[in-house]
Amino acid sequence: MIKVRGAVTVNTDRCKGCNLCVVACPTGTLALQRSEVNDRGYHFAYMANPENCTGCCSCAWVCPDACIEVYRVKTEA
């Protein structure tokens, strides 16, 4: 069986915590930091459930501040 796994990186410095990537993610991978903020005071996005990510890029397409890069691997299990 071919299994797809993904991962994203978030440029936490650029992130404005708008939550649009969290809404767009179909797998519940992302969340906003609850207590931590960046230099501008924004609760930045992070992979709260990294094992869910499929690398579908939905989050990256809707991010207005170009913070997200996406990685994907296919493995035969």
Binding site: N19, A24, P64, A66, E69
Partner: protein
Amino acid sequence: MNLCDTMELEEIIREENKVYAVPELLDQSVHMHYCPGCSHGVVHKLISEVIAELGITDHTVGVSPVGCAVFAYNYIDVDWVEAAHGRAPAVATALNRLWPENVVFTYQGDGDMSAIGTAESIHAANRGENIVMVFVNNAIYGMTGGQMAPTTLIGQKTATTPYGRRVDLNGHPLEITNLMPLLDGTCYVTRQSVHTPAAARKTKACLKKAFENAIAKRGTSVVEVVATCNSGWKMSPEKANEWMAEHMFKVYPLGDLKDTTKEQ
């Protein structure tokens, strides 16, 4: 548990596995000044990608508007001229006529295109200038604090229509993009949005077609992006997207309004 489940993040996050990179042309050394969740950022990204993919970076000139996108020239790394409010299509006309080898696009808000710049926009399109007009319609004057624009919906509350826009007092929403297909100078007129991944992908394809038209000198292409101004609308970015889909798409339905490239 198979191999994939145990895979460490460091094994996935490797250059060779990258499937989405931030656009090269979007200057990462500056922070965009837009409010969190503002549609302008997504549109900037798509334009950056299209210009890079078409290989026209070194001879593309943008004309930035007055409006929240006034600083677009700081973000997308091509040549730019900043126009007075509403005058972007006139400036773009000059740029393209004086240096026809350039690919020229305007970036205009709804205040810019459908209020102060109505004449310039309609006439550039009617003359069939070989330019792309990117029209970001958020139904409000974002930059100046959320006043009513000609595009504001009936009933929509803004700083200058605190009880909602009224037809008897404020007139009807101006659907300026609907006028564009009537003009013989336009070759491509479309209305899109960027609120979902699918919508953003579609808009990118439309922008690409529009820039290809400019390269091929087919006339004027107008790409309207129905957009949000969550600050001006006083909503969260997420709610603003929902409100837009529910209310704006009724007045500004998405889709192509004219495409002469299909007829050829």
